[in-house]
Amino acid sequence: MFFVAPALIVLAAILFYPIVDSVLLALQRVQLAGGAVTQEWIGLGNFTRLFSDPVFWRAALNTAYFSVMEVILVTLISLGVALLLNHPFGRSGFFRILLIIPWAIAPVANAVLWKWILNANYGVLNALLKSLGVIDYNQVWLGTPFSALNFLLIVDVWKSVPFVALLMLAGLQRVPQSLYRAAYMDGAGPWQSFLNVTLPTMRGVIAIAIVLQTIWSLRVFDLVFVLTRGGPADATALLNFLAYRVTFNFLDLGYGSAIANVIFALTFVLAALYVWLLWPREIKGAR
Protein backbone atom coordinates (compact mmCIF):
# COMPACT_ATOMS: atom_id res chain seq x y z
CA MET A 1 0.00 0.00 0.00
CA PHE A 2 2.77 2.39 0.76
CA PHE A 3 4.08 1.99 -2.76
CA VAL A 4 0.83 3.40 -4.12
CA ALA A 5 -0.01 5.96 -1.46
CA PRO A 6 2.41 8.79 -2.47
CA ALA A 7 1.20 8.77 -6.07
CA LEU A 8 -2.45 8.71 -5.01
CA ILE A 9 -1.99 11.55 -2.53
CA VAL A 10 -0.32 13.72 -5.17
CA LEU A 11 -3.04 12.96 -7.70
CA ALA A 12 -5.72 13.73 -5.15
CA ALA A 13 -4.10 17.07 -4.36
CA ILE A 14 -3.66 18.23 -7.95
CA LEU A 15 -6.69 16.54 -9.51
CA PHE A 16 -9.50 15.56 -7.19
CA TYR A 17 -9.45 18.67 -5.06
CA PRO A 18 -9.52 20.99 -8.11
CA ILE A 19 -12.33 18.99 -9.73
CA VAL A 20 -14.53 19.29 -6.65
CA ASP A 21 -13.63 22.93 -6.21
CA SER A 22 -14.36 23.59 -9.86
CA VAL A 23 -17.94 22.42 -9.35
CA LEU A 24 -18.27 24.63 -6.28
CA LEU A 25 -16.84 27.63 -8.11
CA ALA A 26 -19.43 27.21 -10.84
CA LEU A 27 -22.13 27.84 -8.20
CA GLN A 28 -20.64 31.17 -7.18
CA ARG A 29 -19.98 34.56 -8.63
CA VAL A 30 -16.21 34.73 -8.39
CA GLN A 31 -14.46 37.89 -9.40
CA LEU A 32 -10.85 38.81 -9.51
CA ALA A 33 -10.12 42.46 -8.84
CA GLY A 34 -6.78 43.88 -7.82
CA GLY A 35 -5.36 40.47 -7.06
CA ALA A 36 -8.10 39.67 -4.53
CA VAL A 37 -10.76 37.07 -5.15
CA THR A 38 -14.33 37.80 -4.11
CA GLN A 39 -16.86 34.99 -3.91
CA GLU A 40 -20.62 34.99 -3.55
CA TRP A 41 -23.01 32.04 -3.78
CA ILE A 42 -25.53 32.32 -6.60
CA GLY A 43 -26.78 28.75 -6.92
CA LEU A 44 -27.34 27.70 -10.49
CA GLY A 45 -27.11 31.25 -11.78
CA ASN A 46 -24.08 30.58 -13.93
CA PHE A 47 -25.75 27.62 -15.58
CA THR A 48 -28.99 29.45 -16.38
CA ARG A 49 -26.87 32.23 -17.85
CA LEU A 50 -25.04 29.60 -19.87
CA PHE A 51 -28.21 28.34 -21.50
CA SER A 52 -29.29 31.77 -22.65
CA ASP A 53 -25.83 32.86 -23.83
CA PRO A 54 -25.63 32.89 -27.65
CA VAL A 55 -21.82 32.87 -27.52
CA PHE A 56 -21.89 29.65 -25.53
CA TRP A 57 -24.23 28.02 -28.06
CA ARG A 58 -22.07 29.24 -30.89
CA ALA A 59 -19.01 27.69 -29.24
CA ALA A 60 -20.92 24.47 -28.52
CA LEU A 61 -21.93 24.23 -32.17
CA ASN A 62 -18.37 24.97 -33.33
CA THR A 63 -17.06 22.32 -30.99
CA ALA A 64 -19.61 19.75 -32.13
CA TYR A 65 -18.75 20.35 -35.80
CA PHE A 66 -15.02 20.38 -35.10
CA SER A 67 -15.03 17.20 -33.00
CA VAL A 68 -17.30 15.16 -35.25
CA MET A 69 -15.38 16.10 -38.40
CA GLU A 70 -12.05 15.58 -36.72
CA VAL A 71 -12.95 12.14 -35.43
CA ILE A 72 -14.25 11.02 -38.82
CA LEU A 73 -11.24 12.38 -40.73
CA VAL A 74 -8.61 11.22 -38.27
CA THR A 75 -10.09 7.72 -38.00
CA LEU A 76 -10.34 7.20 -41.76
CA ILE A 77 -6.96 8.72 -42.64
CA SER A 78 -5.23 6.90 -39.78
CA LEU A 79 -6.70 3.58 -40.80
CA GLY A 80 -5.52 4.21 -44.37
CA VAL A 81 -2.03 5.18 -43.22
CA ALA A 82 -1.83 2.16 -40.92
CA LEU A 83 -2.84 -0.17 -43.75
CA LEU A 84 -0.18 1.41 -46.00
CA LEU A 85 2.51 1.02 -43.36
CA ASN A 86 1.47 -2.55 -42.68
CA HIS A 87 1.96 -3.44 -46.35
CA PRO A 88 5.38 -5.01 -47.10
CA PHE A 89 6.41 -1.82 -48.97
CA GLY A 90 5.62 0.41 -46.02
CA ARG A 91 7.50 -1.39 -43.27
CA SER A 92 10.66 0.68 -43.54
CA GLY A 93 11.73 2.55 -40.40
CA PHE A 94 11.66 5.75 -42.44
CA PHE A 95 7.88 5.85 -42.30
CA ARG A 96 7.87 5.30 -38.54
CA ILE A 97 10.06 8.39 -38.21
CA LEU A 98 7.65 10.30 -40.44
CA LEU A 99 4.88 9.37 -38.03
CA ILE A 100 6.69 10.27 -34.85
CA ILE A 101 7.83 13.76 -35.94
CA PRO A 102 4.43 15.51 -36.17
CA TRP A 103 3.55 13.92 -32.83
CA ALA A 104 6.65 15.35 -31.14
CA ILE A 105 6.30 18.88 -32.54
CA ALA A 106 4.92 21.19 -29.86
CA PRO A 107 1.32 22.19 -30.65
CA VAL A 108 2.35 25.83 -30.35
CA ALA A 109 5.26 25.48 -32.79
CA ASN A 110 2.90 23.63 -35.11
CA ALA A 111 0.38 26.45 -34.88
CA VAL A 112 3.05 29.07 -35.56
CA LEU A 113 4.24 27.07 -38.56
CA TRP A 114 0.74 26.87 -40.03
CA LYS A 115 0.14 30.54 -39.36
CA TRP A 116 3.08 31.15 -41.67
CA ILE A 117 1.96 28.57 -44.24
CA LEU A 118 -1.53 30.09 -44.31
CA ASN A 119 -0.31 33.71 -44.33
CA ALA A 120 -2.47 35.72 -46.69
CA ASN A 121 0.28 37.79 -48.31
CA TYR A 122 3.37 35.60 -48.32
CA GLY A 123 2.17 32.15 -47.29
CA VAL A 124 3.38 29.13 -49.18
CA LEU A 125 -0.12 27.69 -49.55
CA ASN A 126 -1.19 30.66 -51.65
CA ALA A 127 2.03 30.47 -53.67
CA LEU A 128 1.57 26.76 -54.25
CA LEU A 129 -2.08 26.96 -55.26
CA LYS A 130 -1.40 29.94 -57.54
CA SER A 131 1.39 28.17 -59.37
CA LEU A 132 -0.87 25.12 -59.78
CA GLY A 133 -3.56 27.40 -61.17
CA VAL A 134 -6.12 26.45 -58.51
CA ILE A 135 -6.62 30.05 -57.37
CA ASP A 136 -6.02 33.32 -59.22
CA TYR A 137 -5.18 35.62 -56.34
CA ASN A 138 -4.23 35.27 -52.68
CA GLN A 139 -6.85 34.04 -50.25
CA VAL A 140 -7.17 35.09 -46.61
CA TRP A 141 -7.58 31.54 -45.35
CA LEU A 142 -8.21 32.49 -41.74
CA GLY A 143 -10.31 35.53 -42.63
CA THR A 144 -13.78 34.11 -43.16
CA PRO A 145 -15.67 32.11 -40.51
CA PHE A 146 -16.22 28.93 -42.52
CA SER A 147 -12.72 28.75 -43.96
CA ALA A 148 -11.03 29.57 -40.64
CA LEU A 149 -12.81 26.78 -38.76
CA ASN A 150 -12.03 24.27 -41.48
CA PHE A 151 -8.36 25.20 -41.66
CA LEU A 152 -8.15 24.83 -37.91
CA LEU A 153 -9.63 21.39 -38.45
CA ILE A 154 -7.14 20.45 -41.19
CA VAL A 155 -4.17 21.55 -39.11
CA ASP A 156 -5.38 19.58 -36.12
CA VAL A 157 -6.02 16.52 -38.25
CA TRP A 158 -2.46 16.79 -39.55
CA LYS A 159 -1.17 16.84 -35.99
CA SER A 160 -3.45 14.07 -34.70
CA VAL A 161 -3.23 11.45 -37.45
CA PRO A 162 0.27 10.10 -36.64
CA PHE A 163 -0.58 8.99 -33.16
CA VAL A 164 -3.85 7.33 -34.01
CA ALA A 165 -2.17 5.70 -37.00
CA LEU A 166 0.42 4.25 -34.61
CA LEU A 167 -2.39 2.86 -32.43
CA MET A 168 -4.05 1.29 -35.45
CA LEU A 169 -0.78 -0.05 -36.79
CA ALA A 170 -0.15 -1.78 -33.48
CA GLY A 171 -3.66 -3.20 -33.76
CA LEU A 172 -3.12 -4.41 -37.32
CA GLN A 173 0.07 -6.15 -36.32
CA ARG A 174 -1.86 -8.04 -33.71
CA VAL A 175 -4.31 -9.56 -36.18
CA PRO A 176 -3.18 -13.21 -36.30
CA GLN A 177 -1.61 -14.12 -39.64
CA SER A 178 -3.36 -17.49 -39.46
CA LEU A 179 -6.70 -15.74 -39.99
CA TYR A 180 -5.50 -14.24 -43.27
CA ARG A 181 -4.13 -17.61 -44.26
CA ALA A 182 -7.46 -19.25 -43.49
CA ALA A 183 -9.32 -16.58 -45.46
CA TYR A 184 -6.94 -17.19 -48.36
CA MET A 185 -7.58 -20.93 -48.19
CA ASP A 186 -11.28 -20.21 -48.35
CA GLY A 187 -10.68 -18.25 -51.53
CA ALA A 188 -11.21 -14.77 -50.12
CA GLY A 189 -9.74 -11.92 -52.13
CA PRO A 190 -7.91 -8.97 -50.53
CA TRP A 191 -11.06 -6.88 -50.23
CA GLN A 192 -13.03 -9.71 -48.68
CA SER A 193 -10.30 -10.51 -46.19
CA PHE A 194 -10.15 -6.81 -45.27
CA LEU A 195 -13.91 -6.78 -44.65
CA ASN A 196 -14.14 -10.14 -42.94
CA VAL A 197 -10.84 -10.44 -41.10
CA THR A 198 -9.19 -7.04 -40.65
CA LEU A 199 -12.21 -4.93 -39.75
CA PRO A 200 -13.83 -7.33 -37.25
CA THR A 201 -10.57 -7.94 -35.39
CA MET A 202 -9.78 -4.23 -35.42
CA ARG A 203 -13.20 -3.26 -34.06
CA GLY A 204 -11.96 -2.77 -30.51
CA VAL A 205 -8.92 -0.75 -31.57
CA ILE A 206 -11.00 1.48 -33.82
CA ALA A 207 -13.53 2.07 -31.04
CA ILE A 208 -10.74 3.05 -28.66
CA ALA A 209 -9.19 5.36 -31.24
CA ILE A 210 -12.55 7.07 -31.81
CA VAL A 211 -13.16 7.66 -28.11
CA LEU A 212 -9.62 8.91 -27.47
CA GLN A 213 -9.70 11.23 -30.47
CA THR A 214 -13.03 12.67 -29.34
CA ILE A 215 -11.54 13.44 -25.95
CA TRP A 216 -8.47 15.01 -27.51
CA SER A 217 -10.48 17.11 -29.92
CA LEU A 218 -12.43 18.59 -26.99
CA ARG A 219 -9.29 20.05 -25.53
CA VAL A 220 -7.75 21.71 -28.57
CA PHE A 221 -6.49 25.05 -27.29
CA ASP A 222 -3.02 26.02 -28.46
CA LEU A 223 -4.08 26.07 -32.09
CA VAL A 224 -7.02 28.40 -31.49
CA PHE A 225 -4.92 30.65 -29.29
CA VAL A 226 -2.13 31.12 -31.83
CA LEU A 227 -4.01 30.99 -35.13
CA THR A 228 -7.30 32.80 -34.60
CA ARG A 229 -7.98 33.70 -30.95
CA GLY A 230 -11.50 32.50 -31.56
CA GLY A 231 -12.20 34.83 -34.46
CA PRO A 232 -13.41 35.82 -36.95
CA ALA A 233 -16.73 36.59 -35.26
CA ASP A 234 -16.33 33.71 -32.77
CA ALA A 235 -16.31 31.21 -35.64
CA THR A 236 -13.37 29.33 -34.13
CA ALA A 237 -14.24 29.83 -30.46
CA LEU A 238 -14.31 26.23 -29.23
CA LEU A 239 -15.71 25.53 -25.74
CA ASN A 240 -12.27 25.05 -24.25
CA PHE A 241 -11.08 28.39 -25.58
CA LEU A 242 -14.29 30.11 -24.48
CA ALA A 243 -13.80 28.86 -20.92
CA TYR A 244 -10.27 30.23 -20.96
CA ARG A 245 -11.36 33.59 -22.38
CA VAL A 246 -14.20 34.06 -19.91
CA THR A 247 -12.00 33.10 -16.98
CA PHE A 248 -8.66 34.69 -17.69
CA ASN A 249 -9.50 37.59 -20.01
CA PHE A 250 -12.89 38.63 -18.62
CA LEU A 251 -11.87 37.45 -15.12
CA ASP A 252 -15.29 35.90 -14.58
CA LEU A 253 -14.06 32.80 -12.75
CA GLY A 254 -17.44 31.41 -11.72
CA TYR A 255 -18.93 31.54 -15.19
CA GLY A 256 -15.70 30.17 -16.66
CA SER A 257 -15.95 27.25 -14.24
CA ALA A 258 -19.50 26.57 -15.39
CA ILE A 259 -18.28 26.23 -18.99
CA ALA A 260 -15.33 24.13 -17.83
CA ASN A 261 -17.82 21.87 -16.03
CA VAL A 262 -19.67 21.25 -19.27
CA ILE A 263 -16.41 20.15 -20.92
CA PHE A 264 -15.56 18.07 -17.89
CA ALA A 265 -18.94 16.31 -17.96
CA LEU A 266 -18.57 15.49 -21.66
CA THR A 267 -15.04 14.18 -21.15
CA PHE A 268 -16.10 12.21 -18.11
CA VAL A 269 -18.73 10.32 -20.09
CA LEU A 270 -16.21 9.62 -22.86
CA ALA A 271 -13.53 8.53 -20.41
CA ALA A 272 -16.01 6.14 -18.78
CA LEU A 273 -16.75 4.74 -22.22
CA TYR A 274 -13.04 4.30 -22.85
CA VAL A 275 -12.53 2.47 -19.57
CA TRP A 276 -15.51 0.28 -20.34
CA LEU A 277 -13.95 -0.63 -23.70
CA LEU A 278 -10.64 -1.49 -22.08
CA TRP A 279 -11.96 -3.25 -18.98
CA PRO A 280 -10.56 -6.77 -18.84
CA ARG A 281 -13.37 -9.21 -19.59
CA GLU A 282 -13.59 -12.81 -18.50
CA ILE A 283 -14.03 -14.09 -22.02
CA LYS A 284 -12.03 -12.14 -24.55
CA GLY A 285 -13.98 -12.33 -27.79
CA ALA A 286 -14.47 -15.56 -29.65
CA ARG A 287 -10.78 -16.24 -30.09
Binding site: F3, I14, H87, L166
Partner: protein, 282 residues
Protein backbone atom coordinates in the same frame (compact mmCIF):
# COMPACT_ATOMS: atom_id res chain seq x y z
CA UNK B 1 -1.16 -16.74 -56.46
CA UNK B 2 0.69 -17.78 -53.34
CA UNK B 3 -0.19 -16.42 -49.91
CA UNK B 4 2.91 -14.20 -49.78
CA UNK B 5 2.06 -12.78 -53.19
CA UNK B 6 -1.49 -12.18 -52.04
CA UNK B 7 -0.29 -9.99 -49.19
CA UNK B 8 1.64 -7.81 -51.59
CA UNK B 9 -1.30 -7.68 -53.95
CA UNK B 10 -1.42 -7.49 -57.73
CA UNK B 11 0.29 -4.79 -59.80
CA UNK B 12 -2.66 -2.43 -59.48
CA UNK B 13 -2.66 -2.62 -55.70
CA UNK B 14 1.12 -2.22 -55.58
CA UNK B 15 0.88 0.97 -57.61
CA UNK B 16 -1.85 2.23 -55.29
CA UNK B 17 0.24 1.44 -52.21
CA UNK B 18 3.26 3.24 -53.65
CA UNK B 19 1.16 6.25 -54.61
CA UNK B 20 -0.36 6.25 -51.13
CA UNK B 21 3.04 6.10 -49.48
CA UNK B 22 4.31 9.01 -51.60
CA UNK B 23 1.21 11.03 -50.74
CA UNK B 24 1.63 10.21 -47.06
CA UNK B 25 5.31 11.22 -47.19
CA UNK B 26 4.49 14.59 -48.78
CA UNK B 27 1.63 15.25 -46.37
CA UNK B 28 3.70 14.41 -43.28
CA UNK B 29 7.07 15.77 -44.27
CA UNK B 30 5.99 18.77 -46.37
CA UNK B 31 5.09 21.17 -43.55
CA UNK B 32 8.12 20.07 -41.51
CA UNK B 33 10.45 20.61 -44.47
CA UNK B 34 8.94 24.03 -45.04
CA UNK B 35 9.55 24.85 -41.37
CA UNK B 36 13.23 23.99 -41.73
CA UNK B 37 13.60 25.69 -45.13
CA UNK B 38 11.95 28.87 -43.88
CA UNK B 39 14.34 29.04 -40.98
CA UNK B 40 17.41 29.10 -43.24
CA UNK B 41 16.14 31.39 -46.01
CA UNK B 42 16.58 35.14 -46.25
CA UNK B 43 13.46 37.20 -45.70
CA UNK B 44 13.55 38.52 -49.26
CA UNK B 45 13.64 35.04 -50.77
CA UNK B 46 11.00 33.86 -48.35
CA UNK B 47 8.34 36.41 -49.19
CA UNK B 48 8.87 36.19 -52.95
CA UNK B 49 5.97 34.40 -54.63
CA UNK B 50 6.84 31.69 -55.35
CA UNK B 51 9.67 31.54 -52.75
CA UNK B 52 13.13 31.82 -54.27
CA UNK B 53 15.01 28.67 -53.32
CA UNK B 54 18.31 29.39 -55.10
CA UNK B 55 21.33 28.42 -52.96
CA UNK B 56 22.66 31.97 -52.55
CA UNK B 57 19.64 32.83 -50.43
CA UNK B 58 20.43 30.32 -47.73
CA UNK B 59 21.68 31.77 -44.48
CA UNK B 60 22.02 31.04 -40.79
CA UNK B 61 21.36 34.66 -39.97
CA UNK B 62 17.85 33.96 -38.69
CA UNK B 63 19.28 31.70 -36.02
CA UNK B 64 22.03 34.08 -34.92
CA UNK B 65 19.58 37.01 -34.80
CA UNK B 66 17.03 35.08 -32.77
CA UNK B 67 19.61 33.74 -30.34
CA UNK B 68 21.27 37.14 -30.01
CA UNK B 69 18.16 39.28 -29.78
CA UNK B 70 15.70 37.28 -27.73
CA UNK B 71 17.00 36.73 -24.24
CA UNK B 72 13.53 35.42 -23.49
CA UNK B 73 14.09 32.41 -25.75
CA UNK B 74 17.21 31.37 -23.83
CA UNK B 75 15.38 31.75 -20.54
CA UNK B 76 12.41 29.87 -21.97
CA UNK B 77 14.57 26.92 -22.94
CA UNK B 78 16.22 26.80 -19.52
CA UNK B 79 12.79 26.97 -17.84
CA UNK B 80 11.36 24.28 -20.10
CA UNK B 81 14.32 22.07 -19.33
CA UNK B 82 13.90 22.52 -15.57
CA UNK B 83 10.13 21.96 -15.68
CA UNK B 84 10.39 18.93 -17.95
CA UNK B 85 13.22 17.23 -16.04
CA UNK B 86 11.67 17.99 -12.65
CA UNK B 87 8.22 16.77 -13.66
CA UNK B 88 9.57 13.65 -15.40
CA UNK B 89 11.79 12.69 -12.47
CA UNK B 90 8.97 13.17 -9.99
CA UNK B 91 6.53 11.22 -12.18
CA UNK B 92 8.95 8.29 -12.41
CA UNK B 93 9.83 8.33 -8.72
CA UNK B 94 6.16 8.33 -7.67
CA UNK B 95 4.81 6.37 -10.60
CA UNK B 96 7.16 3.39 -10.81
CA UNK B 97 6.46 2.03 -7.31
CA UNK B 98 2.75 2.72 -7.70
CA UNK B 99 2.64 0.93 -11.05
CA UNK B 100 4.55 -2.01 -9.61
CA UNK B 101 2.23 -2.32 -6.65
CA UNK B 102 -0.88 -2.04 -8.83
CA UNK B 103 0.41 -4.71 -11.19
CA UNK B 104 2.04 -7.21 -8.85
CA UNK B 105 1.19 -6.69 -5.18
CA UNK B 106 -2.09 -7.53 -3.44
CA UNK B 107 -3.47 -3.98 -3.42
CA UNK B 108 -7.21 -3.98 -2.70
CA UNK B 109 -9.24 -2.98 -5.76
CA UNK B 110 -6.06 -2.57 -7.82
CA UNK B 111 -7.99 -2.69 -11.08
CA UNK B 112 -10.42 0.04 -10.08
CA UNK B 113 -7.60 2.27 -8.89
CA UNK B 114 -5.67 1.71 -12.11
CA UNK B 115 -8.59 2.61 -14.31
CA UNK B 116 -9.43 5.63 -12.20
CA UNK B 117 -5.85 6.82 -12.70
CA UNK B 118 -6.12 6.20 -16.43
CA UNK B 119 -9.36 8.17 -16.60
CA UNK B 120 -7.74 11.17 -14.92
CA UNK B 121 -5.24 11.33 -17.76
CA UNK B 122 -8.10 12.12 -20.10
CA UNK B 123 -9.19 15.23 -18.20
CA UNK B 124 -9.05 18.50 -20.09
CA UNK B 125 -6.73 21.00 -18.42
CA UNK B 126 -9.50 23.57 -18.09
CA UNK B 127 -11.38 21.27 -15.66
CA UNK B 128 -8.72 21.77 -13.01
CA UNK B 129 -7.07 25.00 -14.17
CA UNK B 130 -9.31 27.53 -12.44
CA UNK B 131 -9.11 26.13 -8.87
CA UNK B 132 -5.39 25.46 -9.31
CA UNK B 133 -4.91 29.04 -10.44
CA UNK B 134 -6.70 30.36 -7.35
CA UNK B 135 -4.79 28.12 -4.95
CA UNK B 136 -1.42 28.80 -6.52
CA UNK B 137 -2.10 32.55 -6.57
CA UNK B 138 -2.97 32.51 -2.88
CA UNK B 139 0.24 30.62 -2.13
CA UNK B 140 2.17 33.21 -4.11
CA UNK B 141 3.58 30.50 -6.38
CA UNK B 142 2.48 31.95 -9.71
CA UNK B 143 5.40 32.33 -12.13
CA UNK B 144 7.38 29.58 -10.44
CA UNK B 145 8.92 26.76 -12.52
CA UNK B 146 8.62 24.19 -9.75
CA UNK B 147 4.91 24.77 -9.13
CA UNK B 148 4.40 24.39 -12.88
CA UNK B 149 6.35 21.12 -12.76
CA UNK B 150 4.11 19.81 -9.98
CA UNK B 151 0.97 20.72 -11.94
CA UNK B 152 2.38 18.77 -14.90
CA UNK B 153 2.24 15.66 -12.72
CA UNK B 154 -1.53 15.80 -13.26
CA UNK B 155 -1.05 14.36 -16.74
CA UNK B 156 2.44 12.86 -16.50
CA UNK B 157 1.93 10.71 -13.42
CA UNK B 158 -1.10 8.83 -14.80
CA UNK B 159 0.59 8.15 -18.12
CA UNK B 160 3.81 6.92 -16.48
CA UNK B 161 1.83 4.63 -14.17
CA UNK B 162 -0.20 3.26 -17.06
CA UNK B 163 2.79 2.57 -19.35
CA UNK B 164 4.78 0.89 -16.57
CA UNK B 165 1.83 -1.09 -15.23
CA UNK B 166 1.35 -2.63 -18.67
CA UNK B 167 4.96 -3.77 -18.64
CA UNK B 168 4.98 -5.03 -15.05
CA UNK B 169 1.88 -7.13 -15.68
CA UNK B 170 3.85 -9.09 -18.26
CA UNK B 171 6.79 -10.04 -16.02
CA UNK B 172 6.79 -13.77 -15.23
CA UNK B 173 5.90 -14.51 -11.60
CA UNK B 174 8.94 -16.80 -11.23
CA UNK B 175 11.28 -13.83 -10.97
CA UNK B 176 9.72 -12.60 -7.75
CA UNK B 177 9.46 -16.11 -6.31
CA UNK B 178 13.18 -16.64 -6.95
CA UNK B 179 13.96 -13.34 -5.26
CA UNK B 180 11.78 -14.27 -2.29
CA UNK B 181 13.58 -17.62 -1.91
CA UNK B 182 16.86 -15.71 -1.84
CA UNK B 183 15.42 -13.74 1.06
CA UNK B 184 14.75 -10.46 -0.74
CA UNK B 185 11.93 -8.33 0.65
CA UNK B 186 9.41 -6.50 -1.51
CA UNK B 187 11.49 -3.37 -1.53
CA UNK B 188 14.75 -5.13 -2.42
CA UNK B 189 13.00 -7.12 -5.15
CA UNK B 190 11.62 -3.96 -6.68
CA UNK B 191 14.89 -2.05 -6.47
CA UNK B 192 17.40 -4.76 -7.42
CA UNK B 193 15.42 -7.10 -9.64
CA UNK B 194 12.46 -5.32 -11.23
CA UNK B 195 13.85 -1.86 -11.96
CA UNK B 196 17.00 -3.06 -13.78
CA UNK B 197 14.98 -5.19 -16.20
CA UNK B 198 12.50 -2.34 -16.76
CA UNK B 199 14.88 0.10 -18.40
CA UNK B 200 13.19 0.09 -21.84
CA UNK B 201 9.68 0.90 -20.55
CA UNK B 202 11.15 3.33 -18.02
CA UNK B 203 12.89 5.19 -20.82
CA UNK B 204 9.74 5.15 -22.93
CA UNK B 205 7.75 6.60 -20.04
CA UNK B 206 10.47 9.16 -19.33
CA UNK B 207 10.69 10.35 -22.93
CA UNK B 208 6.93 10.51 -23.13
CA UNK B 209 6.62 12.58 -19.97
CA UNK B 210 9.49 14.82 -21.03
CA UNK B 211 7.97 15.56 -24.44
CA UNK B 212 4.55 16.28 -22.94
CA UNK B 213 6.01 18.65 -20.35
CA UNK B 214 8.30 20.36 -22.85
CA UNK B 215 5.43 21.05 -25.24
CA UNK B 216 2.74 22.00 -22.72
CA UNK B 217 1.21 25.43 -23.28
CA UNK B 218 -2.12 25.84 -21.50
CA UNK B 219 -0.98 25.66 -17.87
CA UNK B 220 2.19 27.57 -18.67
CA UNK B 221 0.04 30.36 -20.09
CA UNK B 222 -2.09 30.56 -16.96
CA UNK B 223 0.51 29.94 -14.28
CA UNK B 224 3.54 31.93 -15.49
CA UNK B 225 4.13 35.62 -16.07
CA UNK B 226 7.74 36.56 -16.88
CA UNK B 227 10.41 34.67 -15.00
CA UNK B 228 9.06 31.17 -15.43
CA UNK B 229 7.89 31.41 -19.06
CA UNK B 230 8.56 28.19 -20.93
CA UNK B 231 9.55 27.84 -24.59
CA UNK B 232 6.03 27.39 -26.06
CA UNK B 233 4.97 30.68 -24.45
CA UNK B 234 8.01 32.49 -25.79
CA UNK B 235 7.29 31.12 -29.27
CA UNK B 236 3.63 32.14 -29.09
CA UNK B 237 4.57 35.65 -27.94
CA UNK B 238 7.11 35.84 -30.70
CA UNK B 239 4.52 34.95 -33.30
CA UNK B 240 2.26 37.66 -31.92
CA UNK B 241 4.91 40.40 -31.72
CA UNK B 242 7.11 39.84 -34.76
CA UNK B 243 4.41 38.94 -37.25
CA UNK B 244 6.55 39.89 -40.21
CA UNK B 245 9.99 38.38 -39.62
CA UNK B 246 8.93 34.94 -40.76
CA UNK B 247 12.41 33.46 -41.03
CA UNK B 248 13.25 34.36 -37.46
CA UNK B 249 9.91 33.07 -36.23
CA UNK B 250 10.59 29.72 -37.88
CA UNK B 251 14.17 29.67 -36.57
CA UNK B 252 12.81 30.10 -33.04
CA UNK B 253 10.30 27.32 -33.67
CA UNK B 254 13.04 25.01 -34.98
CA UNK B 255 15.16 25.65 -31.89
CA UNK B 256 12.20 24.85 -29.66
CA UNK B 257 11.17 21.61 -31.34
CA UNK B 258 14.59 20.19 -32.24
CA UNK B 259 15.41 18.62 -28.84
CA UNK B 260 12.16 16.71 -28.48
CA UNK B 261 12.12 15.60 -32.11
CA UNK B 262 15.61 14.17 -31.67
CA UNK B 263 14.52 12.39 -28.48
CA UNK B 264 11.40 11.05 -30.18
CA UNK B 265 13.37 9.73 -33.15
CA UNK B 266 16.00 8.11 -30.93
CA UNK B 267 13.43 6.42 -28.70
CA UNK B 268 10.76 5.86 -31.34
CA UNK B 269 10.60 2.10 -30.93
CA UNK B 270 10.19 2.24 -27.15
CA UNK B 271 7.60 5.02 -27.45
CA UNK B 272 5.60 3.21 -30.09
CA UNK B 273 5.62 -0.04 -28.17
CA UNK B 274 5.18 1.43 -24.70
CA UNK B 275 2.41 3.81 -25.54
CA UNK B 276 0.48 2.18 -28.33
CA UNK B 277 0.29 -1.00 -26.28
CA UNK B 278 -0.45 0.81 -23.04
CA UNK B 279 -3.45 2.61 -24.49
CA UNK B 280 -5.04 -0.58 -25.75
CA UNK B 281 -4.41 -3.13 -23.03
CA UNK B 282 -6.64 -3.52 -20.03
Amino acid sequence: MTFARLQQGGPLRQVMVIAGLILFTCWSAGPVLWLILSSVLEQKALIAQPPDLSPRNFTLENFSTVIGAAASLGRGIVNSLIVAVFSTALALALGAPAAYALARLPVPRANNISFLILATQMLPGIAIAIPLFIVISRLGLIDNVLSLGVVYLSFNLPIVIWILRGFFLGIPAGIEKAAAIDGAGIFATFWHIILPISLPPLSAAAVFAFVEAWNEFFFALILTRQQAQTTPLVIANFAGQYQTVFGQMMAAAVISVAPVILLAILFRNQIIRGFADGMMKG
